[in-house]
């Protein structure tokens, strides 16, 4: 192949046309989105301790199991309904609870059992299957494949983490706020030429350039050009303290536009030691992320929004010897948003007596976590039950409608 400057320019002109014609580059005049509700999925990586987050202080065995990690209204937790109390780390969300915009489902889990590995647990949670390798990619992606009219911007994975639940055949967007590229037009063209024959690189480059333009036009990115390379370097070392808040703010911004589904992760739930501190911090970050979403979405979009936070598994009902808890089975799901019928802790409580536990150590799951997820998807997007039970969550029996949405 002979490449000349002329052929390069012709080639890039063609690329330029197709980009200009793309609706993705004109963020103000969006193509009509396929549905109007908003869904935010937050993956809590590490295994959230459901018994400490949503404390079943009304259970007669609870206090005895949690002596150095005590819960209930006497310990600073807010009473929710006379049986459950809310960990103080989630206290910033109490106004949402009172407004009926915060709820929980207790004692749910993926079908994953016994190995209790984070990595497998998260993979299964995000795959949405009963076992490994039973379907390609993640459940949110398979949902998109069912939805006519879904486009790349319809679903957005945000942040530096890999989000398996969004991966698959349907195009999705992924970006971390402030990650933009500022290159000369010539360098952009040459980079495109270099990567053209390598589909992995070429697709990532085109998406990065598009998202950079969108960042700039939405005013979230840095100023373009002027400081040139200095800015390129300085963006690499931006302070990371507010990273999660920026992710949540960015998610809200996308959801106000064309995006209908956003997903990101919050880490730091693997509290084997000194859980009292670790869980408080993690719940604080979760609270902050939800409140950032609420303020970023504004009242109108918030009213159509459901946020769901799930973790790969719960933790042992007993404390371990190091002020923490180990990997368990049954966990809790958090629901928030203006579209949620909250103010309730759902889920059938299995009890904490020795005989009620899973494997004599973990909270017994009384429902498949995929079932409430499927009902959310059904209510928010109109996806049909059969598609949800065969394609999105293969083999799932959704059971009766728990009425999670208004």
């Amino acid at each position: 192949m002979q490449i000349s400057r002329r052929s390069l320019l012709t080639r890039s002109a063609a690329v330029g046309c197709s980009l200009a014609a793309s609706p993705l580059l004109t963020p103000v005049t969006f193509a009509a989105a396929p549905w109007d509700t908003r869904l935010v999925v937050i993956i809590l990586r590490g295994g959230m301790d459901a018994l400490d987050a949503v404390q079943p202080y009304g259970d007669p065995d609870y206090a005895g199991l949690r002596q150095s990690l005590p819960g209930g209204p006497g310990t600073g937790a807010a009473d929710l309904d006379g049986f459950y109390a809310l960990h103080p780390g989630l206290a910033p969300l109490l106004p949402l609870w009172r407004a009926g915009q915060l709820g929980f489902v207790q004692a749910v889990s993926t079908p994953y059992r016994d190995r209790r590995s984070h990595f497998d647990g998260q993979d299964l949670l995000e795959a949405g299957t009963a076992g490994p390798g039973q379907a390609e990619g993640g459940w949110l992606n398979r949902l998109l494949q069912l939805m006519p009219g879904a486009e790349a911007r319809t679903a957005f994975a945000i942040g530096q983490e890999r989000m398996l639940l969004m991966e698959g055949a349907a195009p999705v967007s992924q970006w971390a706020p402030g990650a933009g590229l500022a290159m000369s037009p010539q360098a952009e063209r040459l980079a495109g030429l270099l990567m053209e024959e390598d589909p992995l690189f070429h697709a990532a480059l085109n998406e990065a350039l598009e998202l950079t333009r969108q960042d700039l036009s939405l005013g979230t990115g840095e100023n373009s050009g002027d400081e040139g390379e200095d800015m390129m370097m300085s963006m690499m070392t931006a302070p990371k303290g507010k990273a999660l808040q920026e992710v949540a703010a960015y998610a809200a911004q996308q959801l106000r536009g064309e995006t209908r589904i956003a997903a990101f992760s919050i880490n730091g739930w693997d509290t084997h030691q000194r859980q009292a501190n670790g869980l408080k911090n993690a719940l604080g970050r979760l609270s902050e992320a939800i409140l950032t979403l609420q303020s970023g979405l504004g009242p109108q979009a918030w009213g159509k929004t459901a946020i769901v936070a799930v973790s790969e598994f719960g933790r042992t009902v007993r404390e371990n010897g190091t002020g923490g808890t180990d990997h368990g089975t049954g966990g809790a799901m958090l629901l928030a948003g203006g579209a949620i019928r909250g103010g309730r802790v759902l889920g059938r409580w299995p009890g904490l007596a020795e005989a009620d536990l899973y494997d004599r150590r973990d909270l017994m799951p009384t429902a498949d976590v995929r079932s409430p997820l499927a009902w959310l998807l059904h209510g928010l997007t109109g996806a049909g039950r059969s598609g949800l039970e065969t394609t999105v969550f293969p083999g799932l029996d959704m059971g009766g409608d728990p009425g999670l949405l208004l």
């Binding site: 490449i3 040459l190 690499m236 190091t322």
Partner: protein
């Protein structure tokens, strides 16, 4: 099969250098790996035990600060503690510079690659300020001396390392029936974390032939593996669960708890066929492709089994197999390897890196790894960094690579090379027509260099 030196240096080494010739043969690569560790001698790093001693001062200053809270003198104590913490972070950045210098100047690139590979296989990290800087010394002392040795010795070194015992919560795990637990109820906790990861990640693999009962039994067997403050590893028989314990049908211990019982189990796990398979698979993925040829995996696993986990013969098996030499560049370099090989191609002088202030090392060479998807020395879990190419080449991570490639070289070199010469130096025979065109057509030298470093030909290996 003709030996391809450029491919050998790109795929199995530190990448091409304008200063150092690529290896002449696979035998030469193996001989260098077997010989003395010249790079470690030229660019020394703190060893783990010395770095661990530093935690003594950290603890002392922290305690002094705690005692003075609410009293006069607190601020001075606070400042002393913070100053020490800053000094440790500066040390960590200097170590990072030394590791990069090894990559830039080595003629034994396979060794550097293997240190990265095995330190990742036995990924361990500090979870508190006390231990946060120890990952490089861990790679130096626990991993590096064993990369050309036997797998079981590396496994034992890793599993008994204070950093691993801390990271996977082993140090305070006590058997429910141990003497310590009977004396003091509070420490009666058994913690399964390390035992599980040893089976799942370090030895048999997640599809391996073990059950939850094996995890539990191994966790009981591991009780007693502990750390004595800043002095390092200590086996504490009083924390050990009285045996025997049965792991994979084999009984260990009984009688007085002793470290040797734990080591015997680790040796058996190291030599298990599932471990051979798991290690073979990981090596094949890391050095060849996300979907390695089954024949290559079989070949490596067979060699591993035949030699009881001696690693040199396994590397020999890798380098002699035709599947390892497929001419198409495949795996995407992870961010550290990308930056290190770029510095090597740029021939960043020793004096330049040695002369960088720790803050500059951070801004130019360490912090940029995070937006590329690799918060260096802090992977998300004990399974270490991902291998899949698409994990690294996402829009935002590729954007971070491009930003670094365009901006950093000018700050690392007084004078940038001519992009046309640089294309040949960085890629050798892999400088294809597109790369050479971009080198000619770029409007500035910085962009020319950046584009060559951004080319898939440079980012893959």
């Amino acid at each position: 099969m003709r030996f391809d030196g450029d491919l050998a240096e790109i795929r199995f080494g530190a990448g091409l250098s304008p200063l150092l010739p690529p290896p002449a043969s696979a035998e030469q690569m193996l001989a260098r790996l077997k010989g003395p560790d010249a790079a470690a001698k030229a660019f020394p790093l703190a060893d783990f035990d010395a770095a661990l001693q530093g935690t003594r001062e950290f603890r002392r200053l922290r305690r002094a600060r705690y005692k003075l809270r609410g009293q006069p003198g607190y601020e001075a104590a606070e400042e002393a503690f913070k100053a020490y913490r800053r000094a440790r972070n500066r040390e960590r950045r200097r170590w990072h510079g030394q590791r990069l210098l090894r990559h830039i100047h080595t003629s034994d690139g396979l060794r550097e690659r293997l240190v990265l590979f095995w330190a990742d296989h036995f990924s361990a990290q500090g979870k508190t300020g006390l231990y946060r800087v120890l990952a490089s010394p861990y790679a130096e002392t626990v991993i590096r001396p064993h990369v050309a040795g036997r797998f079981e010795d590396m496994l034992i070194a890793a599993v008994t390392s204070p950093l691993m015992l801390h990271y996977l919560d082993q140090e305070r795990s006590a058997g429910p029936g141990s003497r310590a637990a009977q004396r003091r109820k509070r420490i009666s906790g058994l913690n399964e974390n390390l035992a599980r990861e040893v089976l799942e990640l370090h030895t048999l693999g997640v599809d391996g032939p073990y059950s939850q009962a094996d995890v539990r039994q191994l966790a009981e067997l591991f009780t007693g593996l502990s750390v004595k403050g800043s002095d390092g590893f200590l086996f504490r028989p009083e924390m050990a669960e009285p045996g025997p314990e049965t792991v994979l049908g084999q009984s260990y211990g009984g009688g007085r708890p002793a470290l040797e019982q734990v080591l015997a189990a680790l040796r058996d796990l190291a030599r298990h066929p599932a471990t051979a398979r798991h290690v073979a698979w990981k090596l094949a993925v890391h050095f060849t492709s996300d979907t390695p040829e089954p024949a290559l995996v079989d070949h490596l696993a067979a060699r591993y089994l035949a030699t009881g986990g001696a690693l040199m013969p396994v590397y020999e098996a890798l380098l002699e197999h035709p599947a390892a030499w497929a001419p198409q560049l495949a795996n995407v370099k992870p961010p550290f390897d990308y930056v290190a090989s770029a510095c090597r191609a740029l021939a960043v002088p020793e004096a330049r890196i040695a002369g960088l202030k720790p803050g500059q090392i951070n801004r130019l060479l360490l912090a940029p790894l995070t937006p590329m998807g690799q918060r260096w020395e802090f992977p998300n879990g004990p399974d270490g960094w991902a291998e899949a190419d698409q994990t690294w080449i996402t829009p935002q991570a590729l954007a971070a690579r491009l930003r670094w490639a365009m901006a950093a070289p000018r700050r690392l070199l007084q004078e940038l090379p001519d992009p046309r010469d640089f294309a040949a130096a960085a890629l050798g025979g892999y400088a294809n027509e597109r790369v050479r065109f971009a080198a000619r057509a770029a409007e500035t030298q910085s962009e020319g260099i950046g584009l060559i470093l951004a080319s898939p030909a440079f980012q893959r290996r």
